[in-house]
């Protein structure tokens, strides 16, 4: 990819600048939470439940307490700290009962890691193993309740809807038109089921946390590898029943997040240990095995879909039920379930639609947000179903989609009107099918011919949509200061964990203030003590929201400069403009003042001064969003949709079942490219992460729900050998009127619908419809051997946990 190919009309916006922190990262200077070493720091370690569900009969910590160097030993018996996010369903440590293999039962803090590990090995726990709830079917039977107190669990009311005496943490739904009638009147009705297992975020830095909790006051100081400092502060305050202002959260460089570091994780445990250790800072470093076993994952999902269409390809009805295997606790899982409702039929205009989404408790490691927030999963259902419908109707899958996709004037399932400003999914699809040279599906004869060579090519594509999943009142803020040399320093509320937020925001400020990019700095290493508020660094919302806030801060800064310059230049602010580091008179550019002369206040020749240090701020609050009606799902949930499409050209080895990805073309209507190099990085990275879900990744559980593959050896993520030979990014720029320079977010989108496009291409190659991810070599070969056209879970002899 030659980054100079992208053309932009702006001086700074759109330029492929290198990320600002890159030099620190290639020299080993960037400090992550794991690198922090505080005076008097202790090391924590913890004991995990080996059972998916068990009663804790007794815990003997006496030998651990007696070990020299051990400063604190705690168990769930001594504490009642609740850490629920949307549902108050989780304790910081298990008490009386464990609900998944990997739940924390006891913890220690000691002078070094070896001593802490030794102490853990000395703790004896007596369990009574109980029959676990293995999967969503058992959970829906409801014979065993993962949370027997579900009827009393506190939760965010009106948004999430736990079902009485069940394992359903939330049931959300939406409907439009009359689905049952439309299905009766359809020319063809297609019913299918699709599923996929839980997968790991696998950030390269695990959830490292250090906490120092003052034993004599409420003060808590946190250093964490986290992506939501302000949400973390709020939840920690709530858990410990203290004020948010008692808590300081510091975020150094973060070694990958992908949604798995949103919310609150090991911080409450570290707080309890620090308090027990008389206020010493306690560092928790989860091992990779703990990261898999203990820390949350992406939920497994089963989608059941019934679609009605007319012979000409017009889809008249769709009915979907999503069952999320969300594990032992709700965390962000219930919000994923909610999002699956208003985005649950994909970017299609379907007059009669109904979606039900159930976030379901099982005795497995719990689930949380993961790049795409449920959309990779729902689009696996929607976009594979579209391909199957096109097969049944004998219509080209491109034509079928084009006939039904959203366009200006369409309404989404929640009743939102799509406008010219919303972006175009049709433009994205048209661009990717052109790029891979789609000419229609292979015939059976063509397949047979290629089969003889041992390798069969296939092409496929899929569309996608996603809007930020966030509360209707989400907000962000920015503080901007000018230093004496006329440069700008900004503090923002977001974390740059590699997506490039700091560089993107600097570019927008550089554009607004007309300053060289190296004169704008975004302060690294956020602290809630100094940085202004942002809700969470999640949901692909920051370029849009943060960008708007930076534009406002910049314009406020310029207004202040012009007010002072007007006095000095004996003019009015209306007659002044800015450029090249000067405020100047529009009719006589030589009447000007340099930024640095205004930065700390202007000084007249006689020594007196006016103005003062320049400091401005900008805020952005989501505008016009509402909660959804529980019965109908109607409302305004989406601040901004980003539409996209992928097309895949691949080759299947019919002997080994392995898939080689030859080319992926990916188009997103991002409105305006802010930094081409960073967006290219998001696309390459997201596409490969999506390919991981498509052909490689997945949790495997034993018959008693123990995780069988908690390591990179057995739970593989793609390596350099798995990457596509070619990735072609295509930027569609239909501007979003209220976006910064027309821009929309694109952080998560590159991952969504990649498995769908791969599944569709595999059908093109083999003439077999696969319904279960991942499309591993084993699954492909078993699919071929079965001789069937449609491969369901039972056909490939899935392990429990994969439906």
């Amino acid at each position: 990819m030659d980054h100079s190919n992208y053309q932009t009309d702006y001086k700074h916006v759109g330029q492929p600048y290198s990320r600002k922190d890159a030099q620190k990262k290639v020299t080993g200077q960037a400090q992550y939470a794991i690198d922090l070493d505080l005076p008097g720091m202790l090391y924590g370690k913890w004991l995990l439940s080996p059972h998916a569900r068990a009663k804790i009969l007794s815990i003997d910590t006496s030998a651990a307490k007696a070990l020299p160097g051990v400063k604190a030993v705690i168990t769930g018996e001594e504490t009642d700290i609740l850490v629920g996010l949307y549902m108050q369903d989780k304790l910081a440590m298990a008490k009386g009962e464990t609900r998944y293999q990997g739940e924390v039962v006891a913890a220690v803090a000691a002078v070094d890691l070896q001593t802490a590990e030794k102490a853990i090995s000395l703790i004896k726990v007596d369990y009574e193993p109980l029959k676990p709830v293995l999967d969503v079917d058992e959970a829906l039977d409801g014979d065993i309740l993962v949370h027997e107190d579900i009827n009393e669990l506190k939760h965010v009311e009106g948004v999430f809807f736990p079902q009485k005496d069940s394992n359903i943490a939330s049931l959300n739904k939406a409907k439009r038109g009359d689905v049952d009638k439309a299905l009766q009147e359809a020319d063809i009705v297609v019913e299918s089921e699709f599923s996929l297992p839980a997968v790991a975020h696998a950030p390269m830095e695990t959830h490292v946390t250090i906490v120092q909790a003052d034993p004599y006051s409420n003060r808590i100081v946190v250093w964490s590898s986290a992506q939501s400092p302000f949400a973390l502060r709020q939840m920690l305050a709530h858990s410990f029943k203290i004020s948010e202002s008692d808590i300081e959260v510091n975020i150094p460089f973060v070694g990958g997040a992908f949604g798995g570091k949103a919310g609150i994780h090991l911080e409450p445990l570290a707080t309890l240990l620090s308090k027990a250790a008389n206020g010493a800072p306690v560092k928790l470093i989860p091992t990779r095995e703990e990261e898999f076993n203990q820390l949350p994952t992406r939920a497994g999902m089963r989608g059941h879909i019934i679609t009605g269409a007319k012979k000409d390809g017009k889809i008249t009805a769709v009915k979907v039920v999503y069952d999320w295997d969300s594990g032992a606790y709700a965390d962000y899982g219930v919000n994923v379930g909610k999002t699956a409702v208003y985005s649950g039929i994909g970017p299609y205009d379907i007059e009669n639609a109904a979606v039900v989404s159930k976030t379901i408790y099982t005795n497995k490691v719990f689930s949380t947000a993961y790049r795409g927030f449920g959309h990779l999963e729902t689009h696996w259902t929607i976009e594979r179903q579209m391909d199957i419908i096109s097969q049944k109707l004998g219509i080209d899958p491109l034509d079928l989609r084009m006939k039904n996709l959203l366009e200006p004037g369409s309404r989404t399932i929640s009743g939102e009107l799509i406008s010219e400003s919303s972006g175009s999914v049709k433009d994205c699809l048209a661009a990717v099918v052109k790029e891979i040279g789609w000419t229609g599906r292979k015939t059976e004869e063509e397949r047979r011919k290629e089969w003889a060579t041992g390798k069969v090519r296939g092409k496929g594509f899929a569309v996608l949509q996603k809007a930020p999943a966030m509360p209707a009142n989400t907000s962000t803020s920015v503080i901007m200061q000018m230093t004496g040399d006329g440069r700008v320093k900004m503090m923002i509320g977001a974390i740059d964990y590699g997506q490039g937020a700091n560089t993107t925001m600097a570019q927008i400020a550089a554009q607004e203030l007309d300053l060289p990019i190296d004169r704008v700095e975004v302060v690294e290493n956020l602290s809630t003590q100094t940085n202004p508020y942002d809700w969470n660094t999640v949901a692909s919302k920051y370029t849009f929201m943060g960008g708007n806030a930076v534009i406002r801060a910049s314009r406020d800064m310029l207004r202040q400069m012009k007010d002072i310059a007007a006095q000095v230049l004996h003019s009015t602010a209306d007659h002044l403009a800015h450029g090249g580091g000067y405020i100047y008179h529009i009719h006589n550019p030589e009447r000007r003042i340099a930024y640095e002369q205004l930065a700390l206040g202007y000084q007249y020749p006689d020594g007196s001064g006016i103005g003062g240090p320049l400091i401005s701020h900008g805020v952005y609050m989501a505008d016009g969003l509402t909660n959804l009606d529980h019965e109908t799902g109607q409302g305004k949930p989406a601040l901004v949709w980003t539409f996209g499409a992928h097309a895949v050209d691949l080759e299947v080895d019919v002997e080994t079942g392995s898939i080689t990805i030859l080319k992926v073309a990916s188009a997103f209507d991002i409105g305006q490219v802010i930094n081409e190099k960073l967006i290219y990085g998001q696309i390459c990275g997201g596409v490969l992460q999506g390919l991981g879900s498509a052909i490689l990744e997945g949790y495997k559980f034993s018959p008693d729900n123990r995780l069988l593959n908690p390591s990179f050896t057995d739970n593989k993520i793609p390596t350099m050998k798995d990457m596509p030979i070619e990735v072609v990014p295509i930027y569609i720029e239909n501007p979003q009127k209220n976006g910064p320079y027309g821009a929309r977010g694109v952080g998560e989108h590159p991952m969504i619908s990649v498995p769908s496009a791969v599944g569709n291409a595999v059908y093109d190659a083999l003439g077999i419809n696969f319904h279960v991810l991942p499309l591993s070599p084993e699954a492909i070969v078993l699919g071929i051997l079965s001789g069937k056209e449609s491969i369901l879970c039972t056909d490939v002899n899935c392990l429990p946990g994969c439906y």
Binding site: R19, V26, T27, G28, Y32, E205, R288, F712
Partner: protein
């Protein structure tokens, strides 16, 4: 009144746990002499004793490559090597790549091709690549993939890394003759 006794417990504890061994090696051109716990890994020696935090720990079992350093010219995963195995060895870490106040061509190309996002795997990739280019200044694409397949990156999708390595190799062949 004494609640409990902790007098010299720590020293006792350390003495009972640790038989020390001496270690001499060269790290980034500096000779190091130290006395260490024989069970200490090379990774923890670099991080905890030498405070060279550029080398990262991610999996602790040699599967991800984040802790890669160069030992006697070969890329090794320092999390599964004992520090004492490095006795007499020459070690290069990410902190040793820049010379004379200037970052190396390889580091420059990682920046300009955006071959990094979160940056946590980056030191490991740089060291695996350095070892590759030292033994093979003109590697094919397949040879690059083979050499870097033991390094995991969850952010970039690897394509920008591949491009950066190719460009760095090309520039080194031209500029470092």
């Amino acid at each position: 009144m004494v609640d409990h006794k902790e007098c010299s417990l720590l020293d006792e504890h350390i003495a009972s746990n640790q038989r020390k061994v001496s270690l001499t090696c060269v790290v980034n051109g500096v000779e190091i002499c130290d006395t260490i716990d024989p069970t200490m890994t090379l990774l923890h020696f670099l991080r905890d004793r030498l405070k060279l935090f550029g080398t990262k720990e991610s999996c602790g079992e040699g599967e991800c490559g984040a802790c890669t350093v160069i030992m006697n010219g070969k890329a090794v995963t320092s999390c599964i090597i004992l520090a004492i195995e490095a006795d007499g060895a020459e070690i290069l870490t990410v902190e040793g790549l820049a010379k004379d106040g200037r970052i190396s061509i390889l580091q420059e190309e990682f920046i300009s091709e955006d071959a990094l996002q979160c940056g946590f795997c980056t030191p490991g990739f740089l060291m695996s690549t350095r070892a590759l280019l030292d033994r093979n200044p003109d590697p094919s694409e397949e040879e690059i993939k083979e050499a870097l397949a033991g390094n995991l990156c969850r952010c970039t999708g690897y394509l920008p890394i591949l491009k950066a390595v190719k460009k760095a190799a090309e520039r080194e062949r031209k500029e470092l003759k």
